[in-house]
């Protein structure tokens, strides 16, 4: 019997924000796989630390690089593609041997998650079940007590890596926005929000729902840069009720 792959979205960081279904699959899992940066435990692996069976086998997929190769560099996509192909081959070998595998993912796996690249390579030949999770951004706007989208609001999720003109054009065509990938893009993002007349509404969230959480109006943040995984929330409000 061929084994199956369960892709588990584990939520924004607080282990209690995992779904009942993910927790059940995890408690029964004999083989778990997860991505991690070199020298780190791996965010998803950290979330399940207290739930995982001590006898479960762990497959650690360590990214070949993180910031050393720029996203725009021609070798980035090729080298990441090779890495994902190796990970998928490892899972395929296990499933061919009849093993079920739980692939751990922070947030929701199909919203900007690395697991999508393994899914693409395995979906035609293996049974894959996707367990949705609470998105990182939901964790952030809940902790920030910031209702994000109302009624007929258009909500856009924007990478802070966009150039200023592109970011401005997109902000002008939505009512609510979540800006991700802040890092060194912070001054540009702040300037564009000010130009769009949105700075007073913007909320900055760092490590939402985790230890070391920081939440404040973006206008009050003096920092010149921020962690890459910080977010800026721009709540919409088309109709006051």
């Amino acid at each position: 019997m061929q084994g199956r792959l369960f892709i588990l979205g584990l939520g924004p960081g607080d282990p209690e924000l995992m779904t009942l279904k993910a927790a059940r699959i995890l408690r029964e899992a004999r083989h778990v796989a997860f991505f991690a940066k070199a020298g780190r435990m791996g965010h998803a692996r950290g979330i399940v630390a207290d739930l995982l069976s001590p006898t479960a086998e762990e497959l650690r997929f360590e990214y070949p690089f993180t910031t050393e190769v720029a996203l725009e560099h021609p070798s980035y996509a090729a080298r990441m593609g090779e890495f994902y192909a190796r990970c998928a081959a490892t899972l395929a070998t296990r499933m061919d041997a009849g093993q079920n595998i739980a692939l751990l993912c922070e947030g929701d796996a199909f919203l900007y998650g690395s697991a999508m690249y393994l899914f693409d390579r395995l979906r035609d030949e293996y049974t894959v079940e996707i367990i949705p999770g609470v998105a990182g951004m939901s964790g952030c706007w809940s902790r920030a007590q910031t209702p994000i989208a109302h009624g007929d609001d258009v909500l856009s999720v924007l990478p802070g890596t966009l150039d200023a003109a592109s970011l401005l054009a997109r902000l002008q065509r939505c009512d609510a926005a979540v800006i991700m990938k802040i890092g060194r893009n912070l001054p540009k993002i702040r300037a564009v929000l000010e130009q769009a007349g949105l700075l007073s509404r913007a909320v900055y969230v760092e490590r939402g729902s985790m230890e070391g959480e920081r939440i404040m109006p973006l206008a009050a943040l003096a920092d010149a840069s921020a962690p890459y995984f910080a977010m800026v929330l721009v709540p919409g409000r088309q109709h006051n009720r």
Copy 2:
């Protein structure tokens, strides 16, 4: 001692997609409140049917109208505003008497949820905790096995109620999209996606993760209209890896 309000996101419909935290709060809840349409049980109330203590008190907030008054009609906002004010006053009276209340919400409460209008009215005087949930759209794209956003994709959540020109303009400035509020807007949405060259990528999802689920390429859907709560997914893919 003043009571507290817990706003619980309960996920897309499958009770097992509730978070561990929401389930814990719910099992301990002595008083639960929820919105419902006239003559219906209420979607959120349905999700918790098997978890709720039989002795818990239920506060049912029935919408004064659903489709009988158009969103654009001047009286819509005023009458909904009065309704939300009455609901908030009911919760305030209970909290003044020391009761903790769990307000049940489908999906994620701060993403297009009615609970936001009660939160707005209560946040200054009461302690409110927001428990994020799996968004309805996450449930849909997971069930549809459709990874939605990758790398630096711009993801937009668009109401199908937008006019064709606005919808087209927004689709042209994003890489991935979720179109909500389908209903009678289906022919317009299909035409706009065709015009934008996106029809072949679009996936139709009806009742995602619930009984009666229907998932198919939008191009294969012959229907002239769809349920209001159906969704159309347009997956992004900036970089193939």
